[in-house]
Amino acid sequence: MSRTCIFSSDLFFYLKEQTKKPTDVLTDFFLQIRGNGVPASIKEYLTLLEAMAHNLAECSIDDFYQIARITLVKNETHYDRFDKAFSSYFDGIESIPDEVFGEIPKNWVEKLKQLDLTDEEKKEIQALGGWEKLMETLKKRLEEQKKRHQGGSKWIGTAGTSPFGAYGFNPAGVRIGQSGSRGRSAVKVWDKREFRNLDDNVEIGTRNIKVALKRLRRFARVGAADQFDLDGTVNSTARNAGYLNIKMIPERRNAVKVLLFFDVGGSMEDYVRICEELFSAAKTEFKHLEYYYFHNFVYESVWKDSRRRGSERTPMMEVLNKYGQDYKLIFVGDATMSPYEIMYPGGSVEHFNEEAGSEWLKRMLDVYSKVAWLNPTPTERWGYYESIGIIKKLLNNRMYSLTLGGLDSAIKNLVR
């Protein structure tokens, strides 16, 4: 059965704005997608145009939706934004068959003339009164038909036996759109917004963090010599008058050691996501990574498992003794609290601390010389909190905002 789609990609551009060229409409669409926060580039837009030129999306707006999505959106977390933009831009287009039919655009007719029909099919068309007649009937029925139609044997729609419409059993069938396949109902995919939950709206992604953390790499070859050393072998073989002398070296590993302290609970709830990202990036980047949690400020003990923070605490002294001074110390916390919590014994909100938090921080700074405090609070609000100023002073200004820029300068300071 040979069919050609007359619901071509040109069609809905024609319908969208009759005065504009299809490419103008597409450009508007592209700009709207970008405006909705989908980071599509010109290269991707050109790819979409190329795909359209290959007639990959000529049959329906559903197909156009798919092809636009696979070319323009490269992250499933952006699917929802794309769906929203698509829906607002092409609103009303899916109801074309109801409204705009009545006059068949000339280019459709041109398209139909190129139908690739076998002799047999041509005969059957003749039986219906010839091509011209068929088109005329189509036009007439379009005029008669006011509503979208399904089934039946006369009206234009899908799944019928009329010569017009998708899935028709008439060999002279002309397909108008093709909606719904494989269990997908006629509901527009983009209106279902299935990917809503995936949108995370994070600006500082794991990859960015990792790229920043990469600067902290210091490669060293330690451990068992299990890798073949090509340069060494060539060198020593040459020295050995051409007799093979194989050299092995240990694998290069990131030798940087990092000690991370995370503030959890309370005001940090707002920043859970970014902290998780930082943590997951750090965990895969560093072989020697140790982490502990604290609440608001560091006192005589910290913990590793938040669920058992009551029972399983690690004394701070143990941490300081266990991890040598070659560790780099990184705090992650919003540093917003009452100044008492830092400066006075008994100031902690959770328990009675015999020594002031500032004493504990000083002890830590005595051991570790490379220190950074990453603060997720936006920099412009730092001035409102006295505690931020106090901690900054204690740390000799080594507090950085938890943004890419801040992370960058923190790392620069840590490797110096």
């Binding site: 070319t71 490269k74 895969t284």
Partner: protein, 284 residues
Amino acid sequence: MVNMMKFTGTKKYVATRELEMAVNAAIALERPLLIKGEPGTGKTMLAIEVADALKRPLIQWHVKSTSKAQQGLYEYDAVSRLRDSQLGDDRVQDIEHYIKKGPLWEAFSSEEPAVVLIDEIDKADIEFPNDLLRELDRMEFFVYETQKLVRAKHRPTIIITSNNEKELPDAFLRRCFFHYISFPNKETMQEIVGVHFPKLKKTLLQEALTSFFEIREVPGIKKKPSTSELLDWLKLLLAEDIPLEALRAKDNKKIIPPLHGALIKNEQDVHLFERLVFLSKRTN
């Protein structure tokens, strides 16, 4: 354009319309296709089935954490050459004897268009995708040892899978088509199971699918069972000849589905599940 091949799923693989579209776009425009999705939704199988459906050779490149982009192109075996020179082998005169082709070179030099699978690209180093930009874009690379340019005879269809362990660089993404395989709904799942177990009784399938989707809905479960686990489980159910009633037993102690080990792979999840069952029994 030579008669365009269209991929429409195979006897063993149910592809949604969106996935077909993505594959066909990648074939028509000769650009790589990046596939993401939950583990076990058939990302790797896709390349195998596409190659099968299009009758094209399949070249697989499984990426590991130690993989380098260069290994996909070629490797120069200096040690063999050194050894041959020691032994006075004549082969040593020609450096080409010691250049081993990688999967991409194989695909570029194939006489017919090939399908290349770059599996789990996110496992490699963070710079790995960046090192392949030119190769995937222009489909050519330079062999420094022989000073020769290798250019693809036919641009292969490249299918790349990722499990989202690392984010991929923008420059790389811009060159690819992207499709996210979302988890199949019940109807598609029925179709998938039908393709794998054509003789399965309808009632058993219904019960099994209900149990399966119920487990997926359990809040807080760490590793949701996926399509491949469902298929394994059904295979086990059939092999053990579990009666239909066992699956239906909703109110007695046997609420945990038989052979659940195939579905729940995590100790904590099993505990969680058992606890929920215990609680629901108490409330009943």
